[in-house]
């Protein structure tokens, strides 16, 4: 804050220059931040689990395999997405 600035003006300047991280450029087709990538991972985890319950578990493969795959995918998406 300069000598002649009011606290409000100072706050406005802070708003004008937000200190956010630049969006990451990864293999996903859209710009994402870490929370977007976490969200995408959770969405995929739920979808994969439901698919597993419906089609794969009746064959005899445990849901834990699906969870491990989803976790691995989440790590890839969050780090490289």
């Amino acid at each position: 804050m300069t000598q002649h600035e009011t606290p409000l003006a100072s706050a406005q300047h802070e708003d004008e220059a937000p200190k956010t991280q630049p969006p990451k450029v990864g293999f996903l087709p859209i710009e994402t931040n870490w929370f977007d990538r976490l969200f995408i991972s959770v969405v995929i985890w739920v979808a994969l689990s439901l698919f597993w319950f419906r089609f794969v578990e009746p064959v005899g493969l445990s849901i834990w395999i699906s969870n491990i795959i989803a976790l691995a995918l989440a790590v890839v998406i969050i780090r490289k997405g």
């Binding site: 706050a11 087709p29 439901l50 419906r54």
Partner: protein, 292 residues
């Protein structure tokens, strides 16, 4: 730092309310969805059953059918509301005699409670006394009975939803159209663009955020439609209008199956979030531009 603290203080009441009325019930529903719980049964205890409710849901033919019915309903209702709402918004952009009174009358359905809308439409659609079956029969020779015809029941619910919610779409699109700058339109006309080109290359991209926001609101609302449908058809005939909301209602209230009802709610919330997110990604999300 000072502005941050002030911001948090100003936000605090909203965050507290949001936590108690939004986050906490959501967490509780997710918690209940992993339990078998019928509080009115011989054993009213909440019994943890892992993911069994989710295992059951993917094989529940009634639930899967209700998802199909709901998605079909949402598609026809929201698309129709968007188209009709856009044309009405364009009409309201022009001056014509009686515009003010027409706009007021057109907005009236919005202030009616859904349960009232359902009751009124039930009266209007009852074959012996309803005005709509009467005139459809007199003018076109059609015999319409929503108690026996699946198609008539479904179509009536779609029309009822369009009648009820199109004014909302119109109002948001009027707001979007009014705020458009005139310069791009004038420049396009000078460059010789026709109406179609102006619509697809200027109007649509400029009102896209408002359209997406409106579709979000309507999508979320339409996916949890219960009261209107419950009053009008009760989910019938058969399961023709058993939307997911109605399915949850039947599971939770008549059967008092709170655990499984919560599971269906969580899945419906998941589908709603995914649908909205896909719409956002398709229409608005900034693309990744890789610099090679």
């Amino acid at each position: 730092m000072h502005s941050n603290r002030l911001g948090w203080i100003l936000l605090a009441p909203t965050l507290v309310i949001l936590f108690f009325f939004g986050v906490l019930p959501f967490v509780y529903v997710v918690f209940v969805s992993f339990h078998s719980w019928n509080p009115f049964a011989a054993n009213p205890e909440m019994i943890f059953n892992g993911a069994d409710n989710f295992r059951k849901i993917v094989f529940d033919a009634e639930f899967l059918n209700s998802v199909g019915v709901t998605v079909t309903f949402v598609f026809f209702a929201v698309v129709s509301e968007l188209i009709v709402g856009y044309f009405l918004a364009q009409a309201f952009m022009k001056e014509f005699p009686g515009k003010a009174i027409f706009r007021t009358i057109h907005t009236l359905p919005l202030i009616m409670a859904p349960i009232i809308v359902g009751s009124v439409w039930k009266l209007m659609m009852t074959p012996s006394i309803g005005i709509i079956p009467h005139y459809l029969n007199e003018w076109f020779g059609l015999s319409v009975n929503i108690g026996t015809s699946s198609f008539a029941a479904f179509a009536t619910i779609v029309v009822m939803d369009i009648w009820h919610w199109t004014p909302l779409v119109t109002l948001t699109l009027i707001a979007a159209l009014v705020s458009l700058p005139q310069d791009p339109f004038e420049q396009a006309q000078i460059d010789g663009a026709n109406k179609r080109q102006i619509f697809f290359h200027i109007t649509v991209p400029m009102i896209a955020p408002a359209v997406v926001a409106t579709v979000f609101i309507r999508l979320m609302d339409a996916l949890r439609t219960v009261d209107e449908v419950w009053m009008l058809t009760g989910g019938g005939p058969g399961s023709a209008t058993r939307f997911v909301g109605v399915h949850i209602f039947r599971e939770v209230f008549p059967k008092t199956n709170y655990g499984y009802g919560s599971t269906i709610s969580v899945i419906v919330l998941y589908l709603t979030i995914v649908a909205c997110w896909l719409l956002y990604v398709t229409m608005l999300a900034p693309r990744n531009t890789k610099k090679d």
